[in-house]
Symmetry: C3
Subunit: 468 residues, 3 copies
């Protein structure tokens, strides 16, 4: 198991040659990580230790246990904790063994690519996981995790991360972010304001989230107006700790605003526990519109992640909770859905709005034409299932001809798996270099164009789109 | 007209080299044919003779006459029989002549590839069909068809078919399958249970199909409960003759169940000839759910073919009937439609459910994420229009990164054109070899991975998914 | 900035070699331009002069100013005229300077390719536009525009245009076309009948357009029957001046007919200024059906351009009007929508119907299956955003396997930018040559097939589909 220096490059010698040159110029650029789900607790305690190899690499990674689950290995056997605290496999060596026995399932998948690169580059392994070497690999990783080089702060520096943005609930006190700031450590870890838990009226525990918002903001959220005040209050707090962006998830991109009185009615009904069918969807649409206005006001870049049908497998959701590999995309629509928002804020120079989709048909049909027109729009990189070698190529193929490169938002790794960050950025940088090399050898652009586009895609655009 | 040994392989030498190696290891594997429409009558009579070259290769092949029809050649002129028995071209040499005059239309199409390979490998021809050589080719083929080597059983053995599954109506007495069994011939021809004609309340001749079901099952189908009993009875009969699978076609993948009393109401209305608008669609959805339960009970692998708008051209349907090249795909949806079925049976270890689509946008957006999670799901190969060199590439590109290879169901030829079977499998094996070679030369997988994936895709997965 | 002779060709030597051969055979074929938006006034006056470089190349080109607008450069600053006549930049050197400063935005876009080829081949420039050379380039172009070689008629001949079809309102008196005819000049400039302004009841200025139709036709359009009569009258007039085609734009492909009395009701309501919601959409659907019937009667090829949400940016529309780079595609559907039209006229040998889409998912799912069956259908080339190197490849990849090549309508440039015509056809011819070369080196077709297919795609099919 070695990492070939030309991986992800076309084997065609002319293209590969240009790809190598382009990649060489971007491979060591600092990593800009404007969107992701790494736990800030990793960095607030200088002595934070990752747990066992299974705790670090398997148990929390829904990309991994999803694949074994699809082949009949239960989540219990993979050590995924149950909501009711019921028994699951607690022998991490066994969990690791099962993973290694099924490592072949990841051949050709991005998880396979990331895990391989992580094992080789971060943990110095050279053997492909297999039933026979599983325990030996476990020992090797466990030994490394004991060393000071494997404290998160040390890895952060080794990975050359310039900035890492986390994703945090509206009511989050940002204790870890504050601790990191006051610790004097130079690592830049910034919060991102994600108010989904209070914006989505049908979110599990919405009422509790509102209470938490009240406590965090000091605003008594008894009316819709107070709700908006509390949100503004928290946005300001996030900004004070360095946040430059917000993030919003929705099933559709609907941004139809309501009148204040309609919005109040829906919000009051929710407070009273008497929401009606459709209330949540209408309120979310209204809030996306309203939050765009807030972003225009306070300058926080707005991210919109659209199109995941969450918790598709009811049994898994009931037993294990959310984010367990059972979120499935649905078809999307932006042209009509974004019309209200864009007609209100689409040319506002204060706003930066970054769009993400799980429906690849939107790349060329809707997203690139929209981004190639509206000044506020930037297109986020291929998301989730499409954060992959082929997904990236389809993205570049689908959007660049219409939107150009400068209407994109570069890359983000969107991961909670901290140790996979370098591998994820590396795939992007390689695919970008190879794709641009394809344009060069077909004489569509020259090498100077390609070099500028590569740097933009691998570094500059993420910083400008997120105002970092 | 020769068959280049490197056809369907990338011309890039490194990739081509790996493709050759991978292909060499799979090209002679036995053919597993778990889904198709070959007439079992071909095999029950050891002396069965194909008719004229036109009868064998043109008149029954809607892929072929469709293309000539699109260029203004009437179906009558191509000898397609009319429902009313009215006159159509009966001179098979004329029909063959017209085909050869238009053979250029198939350049770049899968039909062109299959026909070419069939003519070369099965019939030993070397000339591309043309207006001038048409009659000579006709003579050559006709002469071959006279020889004992061209009896279906002989070809079956020559083609190295390990197992061939037919598709049979729920009421089919399976006389040919029984005759094959009792003949002592070693060829494995298995039936597949396809109850569409009785499940789809609006199917042409539904009432007659119910009567046939009654006769076959010995159950008087006067109630919904009796209908289910008759289906179970027939499933058991099919199993007794070796069936391992069922097949179901639907316009949408809706699987919303009804209560027993609702289902009864709809069924009773249909029996009384008083179906209301929407009844058929709701009943089909309910039955897909119900049939999944039956499959969990009896272990018959369930196939679901979704998304064809049948008999689009009313004139053609009225004059010539179904399956005349006028079935046109419509957009599909699986994420929400399969929710009821998957929440009931998605993790049932007894069930194997294979999905087919005519909407390629579903590959990466819905099918691969679903198959990469639910244990019961396997993805069928690219279907119908997409059973082609480029269709296969788009399929592999769209699904493997998210679902991996082991959540697929390998290949099936889905054809009624018996002599095209080797050519169809060969295209798949070549495209798979070339596609995996692409992963190898981009250093995403190694050659050992690729070899295992190739064997899985070309042989193993079809057997396991269909429990053969 | 040089134009590499192998641009748009694969760098793989075998494929590139075949592509060169195929391209060499089609590159100098005359240009057939059956659909576009060039102003016929360019040719009615033999001494017509293009204005400044900005007037010729930037101000009227929504592909260009759209991209700068998306990066925050206002349309005013780019000299786009306001509807209210308010101030916009009038210094064309300044507009040109801003364009050159942002030329890098077009790297990898078709506009970038066209502009580059135009600047090199038409204007003899060798430097890539940049902030420092902007004024020098302006001078060069301006000087050329003064010479007799840059009169439109001279360029028409230099470009080797065999026929150029314009697009003209139903009420257009076709004065320029008449003047061209009577001038004795040999250039073939034909009108195309586009009645959208009177067919779409909700079109801006519909009532005025009806009045114009009355004046042009001499028919008093006080009833629906008179409306049809006026349309027939104008179609005959267009035919008398050489028109061979009509063109129709619609948001959807719905072709559901109304009864005469329903159609009358809707039309009367519109005349009375009392249209109800949905009237316009229903009437458009009905008229597409009706216009197909007229095309069957008079033999004018019918073009259908479906799927653009026009004037998405309300502010831009109100200030600058239509066609300002703010038209965004929406998802489409043909299978069900075209059913009424195709069941009435789908096999009528008098009709030729050419379909265009902005939803690429329809290529393989609906358009190719439909065109591979119905004799009247031909598929137009990739439209608008997809008239690009990669868009063309996706089109060929999506349609040829199912529809073959002879169910396509070749290429059209669809442009109002006269000087970009050779560059646009050249991209098509190169992409076609390279794509067919891919089939040759994968041994799917032979070189003779490929040569015939290339000539068909680059010349013949446009003539036959448009009956030119």
């Amino acid at each position: 198991m070695n990492l070939h220096p030309d991986r992800c490059f076309s084997p065609e010698p002319a293209r590969r040659g240009v790809a190598r040159t382009l990649y060489a110029a971007v491979k060591d650029l600092p990593l800009v990580c404007p969107h992701g789900h790494v736990d800030p607790a990793l960095f607030s305690n200088p002595d934070y230790r990752f747990g066992s190899p299974a705790e670090l690499l398997l148990i929390p990674d829904h990309y991994v246990f999803r694949m074994l689950y699809s082949q009949g290995i239960s989540l219990e056997a993979q050590g995924v904790p149950r909501r009711d605290g019921g028994p699951t496999e607690s022998d991490h060596r066994k969990i690791w063994q099962v993973f290694c026995e099924h490592f072949y399932l990841f051949a050709g998948t991005p998880s396979g690519q990331w895990l391989t690169q992580e094992l080789v580059e971060v943990f110095g392994l050279t053997e492909k996981p297999s039933p026979t070497n599983a325990q030996r690999l476990y020992d090797s990783i466990a030994a490394r995790l004991e060393t000071p080089e494997f404290r998160p702060r040390a890895l952060f520096e080794q990975f050359k991360i310039e900035v890492l943005c986390t994703t945090d609930a509206a009511s989050d006190p940002l204790t870890h972010h504050q601790a990191i700031r006051s610790s004097g450590w130079s690592g830049k870890i910034l919060p991102t304001f994600r108010p989904d838990a209070v914006v989505n009226l049908d979110a599990l525990g919405w009422r509790e989230s509102i209470t938490a918002l009240e406590q965090a903001s000091g605003v008594s959220v008894t009316t819709y107006a107070a709700f908006l005040e509390a949100l503004r209050n928290r946005r300001a707090f996030f900004k004070s700790l360095g946040a430059t962006a917000t993030d919003h998830a929705a099933v559709t991109a609907d941004t139809t605003p309501l009148s204040d009185s309609e919005a109040s009615t829906l919000f009051d009904r929710a407070l009273a526990g008497r929401s009606e069918p459709g209330d949540a969807a209408r309120f979310t649409a209204h809030m996306l519109y309203t939050l765009a206005g807030m972003s225009a006001d306070d300058g926080l870049t707005m991210q919109l992640h659209v199109g995941s049908h969450r918790n598709h497998n009811k049994t898994v959701f009931e037993r294990f909770g959310a984010d367990k590999g059972a979120d499935i995309p649905v078809a999307g629509e932006f042209t009509r859905n974004l019309l209200p928002l864009l007609n209100a804020f689409g040319t506002d120079p204060r706003l930066s709005l970054i769009l993400f989709t799980l429906d690849e048909t939107l790349y060329s049909r809707e997203l690139a034409p929209l981004a190639g027109h509206y000044p506020v729009l930037r297109l986020g990189p291929p998301w989730w299932f499409f954060d992959s070698r082929l997904g990236m190529r389809r993205f570049l193929e689908g959007v660049v001809e219409t939107a150009g490169v400068w209407n994109l938002a570069g890359f983000n790794d969107d991961t909670r798996a901290f140790c996979s960050i370098p591998a994820r950025h590396d795939v992007w940088r390689r695919v970008v270099a190879d794709w641009l090399a394809g344009l060069v050898v077909e004489h569509v652009i020259d090498e100077a164009d390609a070099a500028a586009m590569a740097t933009a895609l691998c570094y500059d655009l993420a910083k400008t789109a997120y105002r970092l």
